[in-house]
Structures are given as C-alpha cells and as structure tokens.
Amino acid sequence: MADYVKMWKDLGMDLESHDMLCQVLPTAVGDVFLTQENRPKAMDFWDLVISEVHGIRPAELIEEQKKGRKVFGTFCVFVPDEVIIAANGIVTGLCGGSQFWVPGGEAVLPKNTCPLIKASVGARLGRTCPFFRIADVYVGETTCDGKKKAYEILGQDVPMLIMDVPQMKREKDILKWKDEIADFAAKVEQITGNRLTVENLKAAIRTVNEKRKAMQRVYDARKSLNLPISGRDALLMTQISFFDDPARCAQMCNRLADELEQRIRDGVSVAKKGDKRILITGTPLAVPNWKLHNIIETSGAVVVCEEMCTGTRYFENLVDDSGETLDELFMALARRYMKNNCACFTPNPGRVDDIIRLAEAYHADGVIDCSLKFCGLYDIEKRSVSEALKAKGIPVLSLETDYEDSDAGQLRTRIEAFVEMLNG
C-alpha cells in the first residue's frame, strides 16, 4: 500500500483513530469479497480502489484541487452532478456506511437518528475520512427531517449548500425543482469561478448519461438466468461510482459489462444451481455497508438487483440533452431527477411500480425490503410495498437493520427462513 500518512496529516485527520478504521477494513473486504469464487476479472479495478479507498481517489482529488478545481461532497442522488461537472467542479459522494463513525454522530445527534446520518456526521466531526476533509463544500438536500437538521450541525464546520427537494410530483413541483437547479447552478458558478454554458452543460449531461448507460449495461447482465456477477461485486461497483471520475467510471463499467456479456455467452455463472434470486429494495447501502448482501449470498441466494439509491435509482433514466438554452437544459435535468421514486414523496406509487417491474425484469424469486433503523419514510412504506407485491404473487421479506453486526444472527435466521420458504 502506498504511503498516504502525510496526505492524511495535511488534511488535518485524526491519524490515531483513522488507523483503527484502516485496520478493520481489509478483514471486511477479505471476508466479503475475496472469499467469493469465480469473480469477474474486471473486478480488479474495484478491488484496488477499495483496498486503498482512503488513498488513491483522495490523492487524485487533491491533485485536481491544486489546479484550482473545487470538490463538491454530496449525500443524495437528487443532486445534479451535471451542473457541477459543467462548471469544471468535481463531485464526490460522502455517505457514511460504517458503524465506526456512529458514536461520533451520536455525540451531537439523538440516538434514534438513522445510522447513515449519524455516520456521516461522525465521519466529518471525528476527522477520520479524507473525503469529508477534502470537499470544499457540501451539498445537502431536504429528503428527510434527519438530514435537514444534521446539515445545520455540519454547516457549523463546513460550507453547506442545501437544495430544497419537492415532496410531491405535480407539474408545479417539477418547475420548482428546475428553479432550484438554476439557483444551485449560480452558486456553483460562484464557487468554481466558471460560467455554465449550453455547451459545457450539454457535454456534462452526455458524460453523466454515458456513466448511467454503462452502469445499466452491468445491471442488464444481471438479468440473465446465467448470473455472471454476484450482488456483492455489483454493489461495490455501484458504491464506488459515487466517488469516481464519471468518464473513468463509465469506462470501467463498460469493461466489466463486456466481460459479463461474454460470461453469459460462455455459460459462466457465479450462482449455484437452485440459488434463489433476490431483488433488494429500500434505503441506501453506503461504503462499507455490505452486511445484507453478504448474509443473503451466504444463505443459498444471490442478489440480482438493488432498487435503491445505491442501485437503479442512481442511473435509471437519462437526461434529454436536446435543449438549446440553459433554461431548457435545467428543465430536462429537473424532469429526469424528479423521476426518482424516493420515499420522501407523497404519494409514491412509482416506487411500487419500479419494484414490480424490476422483480420481473431481473427474474427475482423474492424481494427483500430493508430499511435502516429510524428511517420512518422507508419503514412506513414497507406496508404498501408488501401489499402490492403479495397481490402480484411476489414473496417479500421486510427487514430493518443498522450498521452493527450484533443483529447478524437474527437477520440470517429471517433470510434463511425466507430462502427455505422460496424453496418450498
């Protein structure tokens, strides 16, 4: 491993605590990923990135900052990357997915806040994540009450921009979101010192669309009954895509998709005969949260799709790049992003439609609907999801969990029982 200690020191990180975090990660990666058999060779890229997750990409970001580029840290798939990229900014995801950061978050947040929020706040305040140190500005959004209030706390420590996401999907809400994107663009111009033009915004839209298409190609390969990639590997690809350069991300995903398509032609599968195909839906799985996939894929089942922000919600639907004015392009962005069926909307029938559509397209034998503890929105929506799936004859298991390992046994019992039920 390259020596990043000086870089971490320069970032003002708490090296002693960070060492403890660095010690657990290789074991987790080994247990979850390297124990798998017959992995696609193209996963080597993501194996490398995750093995030095706090080194390789942060070092690149710092190099770009030296050239005067600004790094925007984001927490949500509603933030339009295209606007930042058009202004020559860089986007990096910031969501915390480790229990390591939760106690730091609980020091300033109520305990009954979702672990993603607690970990994100803990990662910033504890100074143990380089991405949280590097970002020049954070972009928050109003997708839930917990985040809204947590951003106020983060805002005391780091510059924050907040985008007001509508809570309904009427035409006037889409127009409101377009105005919000335009306001956001003005702030991004200010921070980067670069003007948005029709040309650079169109180019950015194309870059991000290419990334979406490449990710979709990998997911399309997962529809094959001859499953060419495990859910764990696909999840890792999706998680890292939030941090990577979009053009390289597209290139690597396409390279992986090439191999997966060849595997399908050659009849190479990672699933054992009789493994049940599971679609997962629910709240996001931020790095390094691999708990659910790992339990499922060691219980006689495979994950074939994630209807999640770390999944199809991130890359489905392209942005129309035919507009000839910034206003038209902002409107095209607004229309695309408002197709996201997050549980923050009321009503939200689109999510149920998505789950049913994806369960069919990916030939899922069953659906696992899992939310992070204290996420009221997704927890409440479990009922309507479950009723709609049962009406369609699709078996569903509803779960709730956090980042701790202490409930792994209970989760395993439920998941094994679900798989036994699918086996009849």
């Binding site: 078996p395 509803s398 409930d407 046994g409 029982a417």
Partner: protein
C-alpha cells in the same frame, strides 16, 4: 424407504428440545433441557443421552433453533421458522394454519398455506412479547413464569404500555411502589405479551386456518386466554407444542410421519 432413526434437535435461547423417531416415524424418545451457556456442550449432552438403539443405528440429525449451527454432528440445519411451521402442521393436523410461536428470545408469526410457510414475521432485537420478557417480569415479582401466569388469572385489568422490556420493568416497579396488587400487575404483564403479538400480526395477512400457539408458553392457560381475547378468535394449543420445532425438523427426514409423542414435559 430409509429405516434409520431420525433425531430433531431444536436449540432455543432458553431450552433445547429434541425428539427421536424410528424408521416408521414413531416418536421413541424426547428430551427437554436448559440450553445453558454453551450450545455445543448442550448438543453433546443430548447426543450422549440418546437411547442406545438410536445411537447404534446411524441416526440422522436435523438441527434447528438459534443454536442450530452449534450442533457439529447435524446432517442438516434448518431455521426454526420452517421447522415450527412443519411441526405445527403435524401437531394440529391442518394444512392451512397460523402459528404463534413465543420463544425465549423471539416471537414469530407464521402463516402456513397448503402445508408450507407462505409468510412470517419475527420481532426485532427487542425482547418485549417473548418468554424472556415474562421471565424478567416474573423475577421482578419474585415468582416463577408459571406462577406469574397463575397469579395473572386472578388479577384485574392493568395496562403496561412500554414496548421495551427494560422500560416495562421500570413500569412494573412503579406499579409495585403504588401498591398495585401483584395479581393485577401479573395480569398486565401477560396481557402486554398478547397485545404485542397482536400488533406484530398486523404486519402480515393471517390465513383462514386455525390460530395455534407453539413454544414455551403453551402450557399457560392464561396466556392462551389473553391471546384469544386480543385476536378475537380461538387459539389452539397442544401440550406437545413445545416440541413443534424439533418435530418439524425431524419431519424433514421422515417425509411427514412422526407420531405418538404423548407428553410434553417428560
């Protein structure tokens, strides 16, 4: 057909339940003991206490319950959800039924359709509504769990509202401090278990078949009474229902036959 003996071992958080059946599916032995602190040791003790004929006969073993992975000699492991479902189908002689299993650490509701599990829910980490909850409360009232249930049947309506065992214990201590009769507090404890199970049932669609209670509380009539009141329908049970998991496990070997378990508590 395979004429070897089959043994089902259900290692729960509190008690380990085992049954052995002969090649015709007739129950020839059963065993109930505390799980203790080591599931592996308990599994070993169960193995050595098997009848000589079973030991000599190359028996096959199916393990279930939370300690199922701690039975090194098991030929097969299955979850307690599948096994309780299978066991209940056999015990209550119905293809469609709804099972309430109140165990030491968790409470499950299992819907069986045409002999197979079609839906289930389990409580989360919290132990409210489980056998552990009853034990903690019995301890606070200085009685045994069975004693608490007897006492409760003589008590009057009292509500314990906390969903968490620790908070509910504080609530019970407050009631004691206020001089509420023990019988009334016991009534509240048992009723809160029934209410919690009923709330859990809201998360699935119960089938048309009978509602049946399995697990360690099936020998307590007042638990049954409060459950019947909460659900507004008959709740069946059977003295052998503590062994539902072990019976269900062994049924995986015998193709459905396992008869003649006469007593539950030995």
């Amino acid at each position: 057909m395979d004429k070897r003996y089959g043994v089902g071992i259900d290692i729960g958080s509190t008690c380990a339940k085992s049954v052995a059946v002969d090649g015709d599916g007739v129950v020839v032995w059963h065993d109930l003991r505390p799980t203790g602190w080591s599931s592996v040791d308990t599994a070993g003790a169960i193995q050595s206490s098997l009848p000589e004929a079973v030991k000599a006969g190359q028996a096959r073993f199916v393990a279930t319950g939370y300690g199922r992975v701690s039975v090194p000699f098991a030929d097969k492991c299955l979850t307690e959800i599948s096994c309780h479902g299978k066991g209940a189908v056999h015990l209550f002689d119905a293809k469609d039924l709804n099972v309430i299993d109140i165990g030491g650490q968790d409470t499950k509701l299992i819907v069986i359709t045409n002999g197979a599990v079609s839906e289930f829910v389990m409580n989360d980490k919290c132990s409210a509504g489980t056998g552990r909850f009853l034990e903690v409360m019995a301890n606070t009232l200085s009685v045994t769990p069975g004693g608490l249930c007897d006492m409760a049947s003589r008590g009057g309506e009292t509500r314990i509202s906390s969903l968490c065992t620790v908070f509910a214990e504080s609530e019970v201590i407050n009631l004691i401090g206020r001089g509420t009769p023990r019988e009334d507090i016991a009534w509240g404890v048992v009723d809160s278990i029934a209410q919690k199970v009923k709330a859990q049932a809201g998360k699935l669609r119960l089938g048309s078949g009978p509602l049946c209670l399995t697990g360690g509380l099936c020998g307590f009539p007042f638990v049954l009474e409060r459950l019947e009141r909460a659900f507004g329908r008959e709740v069946r049970t059977d003295p052998r229902a503590r062994f539902a998991g072990a019976l269900g496990a062994v049924r995986r070997l015998t193709g459905g036959k396992s008869r003649n378990l006469q007593t539950a508590d030995g």
